[in-house]
Each structure stands twice: as C-alpha cells, then as structure tokens.
Symmetry: C2
Subunit: 456 residues, 2 copies
C-alpha cells in the first residue's frame, strides 16, 4: 500500500538514484524508474544536473510513463533535455499524448527542433497540434484536450455505455457531452447518471440542458474561476456555432490556479512573471529583476534631490535625518500591506469595480487609525528624546509619520485598482511603484512640515 | 444555453436584485433566486448589506440549493446570517449536506447556536459531525466527506453497477473504493473502468492495487499537493488499520490551493493569515496589521539611534542624509524580491532543504551583479553631482548601495529558509522582518563606510 510521498521520501529516493548513478548501475536504475511514479520522477529531476538528467532520461523505456513524465516536468527542464534528443524517440512518446500536451511541449522547444518532430507525425495529428498552437497563450484553446467523448442526444443510455467501451482515448471521462442534430452542444450527463439510469432512456431525457461553456479565446484564469466556483470536473470549449472543440479538465485547472495565484506576487515584487524564475541562471534572474530596480533607483535619485533642496534646514537640525528611515519604513510597509490585500482580493474575485471605492475608503480609515497611533507614539518619543533640539520636533515627526502612513494606505489601495481600470495587470507594477512613490512623498511631506513648524 | 458569468453579468444580476429589493417585489425575487446558481448567489451576497442579505435568505426555499449556497458563502458572512435564524430552518438545509459541510458551518457559529442545531439532528448524524469536528483545523479529517462508496473486492462488476444505483448520497462519485475481507482499503476502480469491463469480472481483478491515501491528521496543504501532483479526483483518508474514513475531493482541493497559495503573501506583508481580511471591519483590520507595524516601528527607532550616533559626521556633511532613502529603498526592494521568490518556491515545492544552500548562493550572486551595477551607477552620479562636497562621496554611496543590495539578497533568501528550518511558517515574518533588518543594516554600513572613507 503506497502512502503519500512526503518531502522526506523524495529525498531518500533522490539519494538512491544518485548512488546508483555514481555506480553506473544501469539495471537497478531501470528497475527504480519502473517503480517510481512519473510525477515523482519529474519532481526528482529538479535535483539532478544536466548529465544525470540525460542519463536517466535515456534509460526510460516505457513510452506511456515517459510521456506523462515529460508533461509533469518543469518547463525550464524540458527544452535542454529534449534539445539533442533524436526526434524519432520523442515522437514515440508523443504518440501517448493528447494534442494539447504535444502542443505544450513543442512550444517549449526551438522552432527547428519542433518542426523536425512535427515532420515525423501523422498529417492528421500535425493539423490538430497546429490548430491548438494557433490559439493565444494561456487561453482555453491552448490548454484544452481535443479528445472529447460526445454522442447524439437520441442515443439510448445502453448504447452510450457500449460506445464508451470503444472510446480508448480520453483518460479522464466523467462527463458525456451530448449534441443535437446539428452537432451543437445540447447537454451533459455525468457518467454516474448514465450508469444508474434506465438502459432504454435516450440521452436527451436524462441530460442536463444548462451547460456552462467557454470559447477557445477565453483566458485560462477565467476558466479556472468557473471550474472552481461551480465545482466542475471539466468545462467544454465551444466555437461560435456551439460545436465542441475540446474540454479543459480540473487537473489542469489545479495547476493554473496555483501558478496564477502565486504569479501575481512575483509581479508585485517586480521580478517579472516568469513562473520558473528559480530555474533561471543568475544572469537571467538579474535581467528579470533589473527593470523595477531601475525604477526604484530613479525614484531614489528624486528623493536625493528633494532632500538636498532642504539642505539649509538639515544643516541646521541634522537630527531630522535620523527620522527619515522610520518614516519611509512605516509608510513602505503600510503601503505594501494595503496593495497586497487589494491585489489578492482581485485575484480571488473579492475586489472589483463595484466595491473598489468602498475598499479604498476602508484602507484610508485604517490609515487614519494606525497613522494616528504610531504618529502619537513616535511624536512622544521624539519630543522627550530631542526636546533640547527643538520642542516642536515631536510634533513634526509625529505629524509626518501620520501623513506618510495615510498616504501609504491610499496609494497602496488605489494604485492596483487604478492599474486594472486602465487595463494594466495590477500586479505588474504595484510593489516597487508603491514603495518608491511613498518614499518620495513621505520625504517631501516630512521636510515641508519641518520647514513650516520648526522656528528659523 | 448558459455562458460564463463574467464580472459584468454578476453586476447586472446584483443591480436587478437591488431594484427588486427596493420595490419589495417578493414574487420576482423568489423567481430570480430560483434562476440563479447557488454559487452565484453566494458571490452576490458580498455586495449586499445585512438587511438585504437577511431578506434574500428568508426568501430561499429550496433546501438543496440553499444548502449549496451556504457552503459557497464566504466564512465571514455565514455567522451573522445564521445567528438569529431558527435552528429548525437551519436543520432543514443541513439534511442536504454531508457531515464535513455540516461541521464546517457549525464551526463558524457561536457554540450555543451550534449546540441548538446539533440537538435537532439525528443521533447518528450528530456523532458523525462531532467526529469530524474533533480533527485538527485544516487537516484531511476536517475536510473529508464521509459518504464514500466502497464495496468488497469479491463483488462482480455488474453487481457493483447495481449497487451504485442504490447509492444516493455521494454527489461526486468517480472512483469506487474496494475493500478486502477485513474491510481494509485494497484498491480503487474508476467508474469508467467499471462500466467498460466484463460484467462478470470481480472487482479484485480490475482494481488498481496501488492506492495513495492520507491520514485524517494530514495537513490539507499536503493533501492538495498530492492531489495536484498525481492529478487525482479524490484521495481516500484512512485510519491506522487502513480502514476508509472518508475522501477528500478535488473540488475542495481547488479551493484549498487558491487560499493557501495567497495566504502566504498576506502573511509576508504582515497582515496576518486571515483569508477574509477584506470582509473585516476597519478596526479589526487595523488590529491584524498592528503587530508587524510595531516591529517595523521598533526597527525604525533603532535606525534613528544609529543615525544620531553619527551626528558629528552628518553635521559636517549633511548631503549624506540625501542618499539614505535610495540606499534603504534599493535594499528593501531587492530583499523583498528575494524573499518573494523563495517563499513562493517553498509554496510550490521548488525550494526545500535539499537545494536551499544553492538558492541562497544564487541570490547572493544576483546581489553581486545588480549591486555592482547600481553601485557604479549611483557612485558616478554622486561623484559628479557632489564633487565639491567630497571627491570620495561617490565611492562612499556606491560602495554602500552595493553592500546594502548584497546583504538584502542574502537576508531575503536566508530568512524564510531559516524560519522554515526552525519550524516557523516562513511567510509569517518574512516581509516586515526582512525590510526592517535591511533598513538597519543598510544605514549602519553606510555611515561606517562614510566614517572610514571621508576625510575628517
């Protein structure tokens, strides 16, 4: 009886593979590969270097398992692994895959390589793959499986079951889609209802007529939302005439949800939207992180210019410099909190334009409360600690941190909502943009208040 | 034919409900409720106030639909909605729910209310619910459905199909679990395999004998990982003797994945792990955000003390203050980027102790590259801009930002890995802790370098 493969078991398996690889114990490696689930093999590949990966891959001989392994493998590993591989061998594995999985792997390979594999495929398969590859990236069309089990609505239940027995392709059949005389999607029946109904009922009698469906251009995030909201196991993809093109199954949706949910936060931190950033080289990662750091850098230069313009004041009361970090830090964290709450709310569907204004107002109220509290706290500290410098210093820093925190919640909540309104992905810019603008505004307000309140 | 309900359609529906509510058009409201999917109703409730919610809820009369609606509703809405409701009415809806869903709702209610509902349930149902409520929060036991379809391994395929027809309870049957003579989990058969096999085959002959299972104490996040890694539709939960206690189905896993994936980032921003923070009151949200802001505040005071201790230097060269924001800002963003990458990597399973060291080293290399670039850039700017103040100032700020960015990537990558090693949730503290410590270290290094390099 197999139990869950926790992290511990994965590392035991990894060490066993390593030991066998060192000893060049081919027969044992082949045996171990046979015993290991393809999904676990894919996971293990993260820990092996290029040479180890190639050695193991060359020892895989079960086409079905190897095909599943390739699908489960991280994007970043697939290309280098298959690059020098004989197209003939790759095509062997491809025979075990649906068109959407074939398209996915071909999309990861250099064009030439992909073409050489395509040339070895049957004309009909080629066509199907090309069709899928023509859909936009991350659309329902690009992830749908084209092996769908459909039957006409006049079919009898018993004939439907017989037909099911002849349908080898689809690994995940739980719904039977029913079409009308014009071959349009007319209804859906769960396998369970099919089995438990009277054998002589027609599908038309037992099918559910309200079927949710999406178009091939629909974004996969939208597909994931529908599947998760209504607890579907699959969602049909139809064309303008309501003919079924394919289905998106829940197992793909699970992966999409995980990736999309976390992708937002990579973008918020300004590290691009590359899901496999951990597998990138040092140089590539640096390139991904470069642009937003540059924006921060420019913002920093602006802050420098602002501070310098208050040179006389600083020259007189250098203690003012000591409170710059706390004012910027509190504002920065406060702003990040607000934009994290809002960006996450948009990802889970809890923030939209209908309630955006209410949410911004609430963040402002939170800013008023927390700003007042921390302003008072810092003001009291500064008053007693630096009474000798100026009795007004407490008021200056207290008021400044209050303003900075209030501005921070406002900007933090407003920016992602505004970006979405103008059609920009709110996660892209939010993080560094919010902290940088809060930095600049915070420092300006601080020195303006100081100029106004501190006696010359 | 029903198409996907996009945000637009939801807001149309919301406005229609509002209009009908204003007009007290009861009959029309009841009709509209009947036409609306329970999941959509649950979504709509986010936009209605308490009074509107109560009015609508009182007009729901289909027990099955209302039960589904309650399950789909946000946690934060369930309690106020049911608080003053007649237990008799609630029990009506409860009859339509599985024990796990009953336990979930009871867990949201005040103890007294929950008890008054329990008292109205049948003894057997009560027992089942109490059993589930005894499992730890967020464990497999607390989310499993106890309505499982199991049969003995000696059953014939045709008898199994007949048995399936008599099994009303389970809404989501796609696997048939097979037990041995001691009633232990022995295998699993997909419904499709059952239907397409010879009627006289025994289940033992056609079942898959390797079944993944978890224990009721297993964390739901682990359950979600297994289901998503191996593309399962359900996962059995077994006791120590391998008797089936229940199953966790993929539709619950989808919700868990979304919540867990985004929860990390709320924690990283220091706003607690309350998934429904958007539904909290202003005051409650302020309370959730308070603790980490306090940590930031303390860190800021430390920074203040450090800066003040370099008072003589600042007093002489006040321009030094102008570069504090850029040094802190670049370090802060750099550190947030690194810890976001690592925390997300741990959430998706790509970072573990096996490769933690390698990942920290890579982050350090990224820090070396980007730090060198931006150090040079800022150094050149400061050299030309403030040559009159000191020809060394370029060197001081360039070197400082270089060190600050290098330290930022190191701390940003190290802290979450270290927290996890010592058994603390890495997301809890990472964000504010990383930025605050980078602030303090950055400012210290800056003034130390300035003291060392700038002529007295």
């Amino acid at each position: 009886m197999r139990k869950e493969l926790y992290g511990h078991e994965i590392s035991v398996l990894r060490d066993t593979f390593r030991r066998l690889l060192r000893r060049h114990a081919k027969t044992n490696i082949v045996k171990l590969i046979k015993k290991t689930h393809p999904a676990d093999l894919a996971l293990l590949f993260r820990y092996f270097n290029d040479v180890e990966q190639k050695t193991l891959f060359n020892l895989m001989d079960d086409p079905e398992k190897t095909a599943e392994f390739l699908i489960e493998l991280d994007d970043g590993i697939v290309a280098p692994l298959l690059e020098d591989e004989d197209p003939q061998r790759i095509v062997q594995f491809f025979r075990e895959l649906g068109s959407n999985d074939q398209a996915y792997i071909l999309g990861l390979l250099p064009e030439e390589k992909a073409q050489s594999i395509m040339d070895l495929m049957r004309a009909e398969e080629q066509e199907e793959v090309e069709e899928i590859m023509a859909y936009p990236e991350d659309s329902a069309g690009s992830i749908m499986s084209t092996d769908v089990f459909t039957l006409n609505q006049d079919t009898l239940a018993k004939d439907a079951i017989a037909a099911l027995q002849g349908f080898e392709q689809a690994e995940m059949v739980f719904y039977l889609y029913v079409t009308d005389e014009d071959n349009r999607l007319a209804g859906v029946i769960s396998l369970r209802d099919l089995v438990t109904t009277k054998p002589d009922a027609t599908l038309k009698d037992i099918m559910i007529k309200q079927v949710h469906s999406v178009r091939p251009e629909t974004d996969q995030e939208e597909v994931a939302k529908i599947v998760s909201r209504y607890n579907y196991l699959a969602l049909p993809v139809v064309d303008m005439e309501n003919h079924i093109l394919g289905i998106v199954t829940v197992d793909d949706v699970v992966d999409i949800i995980r990736e999309e949910a976390t992708e937002d936060f990579l973008q918020m931190a300004g590290v691009g939207k590359d899901r496999e950033i951990l597998l990138k080289s040092t140089f590539e990662e640096s390139k991904l992180r470069f642009p937003w750091l540059f924006a921060t850098w420019l913002g920093g230069i602006v802050a420098t210019i602002i501070v310098t313009s208050f040179g006389d004041l600083l020259n007189r009361i250098f203690v003012l410099a000591a409170f710059m970090p706390i004012i910027a830090g509190m504002g920065g964290n406060m702003g990040t909190q607000s934009s994290t709450i809002v960006v996450r709310g948009m990802a889970t569907g809890r923030v939209d334009f209908g309630n955006a204004f209410k949410i911004i107002l609430k963040e402002i109220r939170v800013g008023l409360i927390l700003g007042a509290f921390y302003g008072l706290l810092l003001g009291i500290y500064a008053y007693f600690r630096f009474y000798d410098v100026s009795p007004y210093l407490g008021l200056v820093v207290g008021l400044s941190i209050y303003c900075s925190m209030l501005i921070a919640t406002t900007i933090g909540a407003f920016v992602p909502i505004f970006l979405r309104r103008i059609g920009v992905d709110p996660a892209i810019a939010t993080g560094p943009f919010v902290t940088t603008s809060i930095d600049i505004l915070g420092v300006s307000i601080y020195f303006l208040i100081a100029t106004a309140l501190l006696p010359v």
